[in-house]
């Protein structure tokens, strides 16, 4: 990762990425959209009447459609692959890849976490076991939000454990000083 370097004694506790199941559902949607024009042609158009140049033009348009979908699918894959949270023993790093050229990386020290919330809304989320984790930080209006997290309650627990460990460490350092 180019966005950050781990400090001395800092370890990665957890990496949180969006749900694979939801991405697979998106893949199925892409496949349906890709074959839809071919199916429409098969059922509604007399394909025997399309001959010569007309046939080539229809094929050309369909190939352009497939190429566009192929690129869009990999754009979605890029967002899926690069968007995530990395929780280390010291901080939470929120990597937000919204578009191809828009990427922001925000860091929150673990001791600044004030509130953590998990939301699972809708039947699909319930069935797939995905949810949204929201972290409110102290002294900042910014909320750290991660959608479509698989097993969000487990992730929340691990974040809270890392937070408690960091808080204990800060206390120990203060006592020694």
């Amino acid at each position: 990762m180019r966005e950050f370097n781990l400090e001395k004694n800092e370890k990665i506790v957890l990496t949180v990425y969006k749900s694979k199941a939801l991405f697979l559902l998106g893949t199925v949607a892409f496949v349906i959209i890709a074959v839809a024009p071919a199916m429409l042609f098969r059922f509604f158009i007399d394909t025997n009447s399309i001959v010569g140049d007309a046939k080539l033009i229809v094929e050309l348009l369909y190939l352009l459609w497939l190429l566009l979908l192929w690129i869009l699918y990999f754009f979605k894959w890029t967002v899926y692959m690069l968007d995530g949270w990395i929780i280390t023993s010291d901080r939470l790093i929120d990597i937000n890849q919204t578009r191809l050229f828009t990427r922001d990386v925000a860091t929150l020290p673990l001791e600044s976490i004030q509130d953590t919330k998990v939301e699972v809304t809708g039947i699909l989320s319930e069935l797939l076991g995905v949810g949204t984790i929201t972290i409110q930080s102290a002294g900042s209006a910014r909320e750290f939000i991660m959608n479509s997290v698989p097993r969000p309650h487990d992730a929340k627990e691990k974040i809270l454990r890392a937070y408690e460990a960091k808080k204990d460490e800060v206390k120990r350092v203060q006592v020694v000083q």
Binding site: D53, L56, I57, L63, W70, I71, F74, M81
Partner: protein, 96 residues
Amino acid sequence: MHAIILYMDFSVSNPMNTQISFDTETPLDVHLPGPLVSGGLLFFVGIVGVFSLVMIYHWFTYGRNKVLSAGTTVVYLGGVLFFIGMIIQIFTSLAQ
């Protein structure tokens, strides 16, 4: 490429049984000058190329691991080259 002759006649026989047929008796002539087509094709390939390069750069720079990035790049480029190859092949057939 000098001309593309497109024959189309969309006819709906009845609302419950829609049939779109291509009528070869009423040609619609579409004349496209060669430089325009070649230029358009080059522009299109250029746009796809730039977009692809940016995505591949992102995969290798920020990706989770190099193996995943390399695999993604191979699959993606394979698909893009296949589609562009087919598109160019059709253009060549149309030009003949």
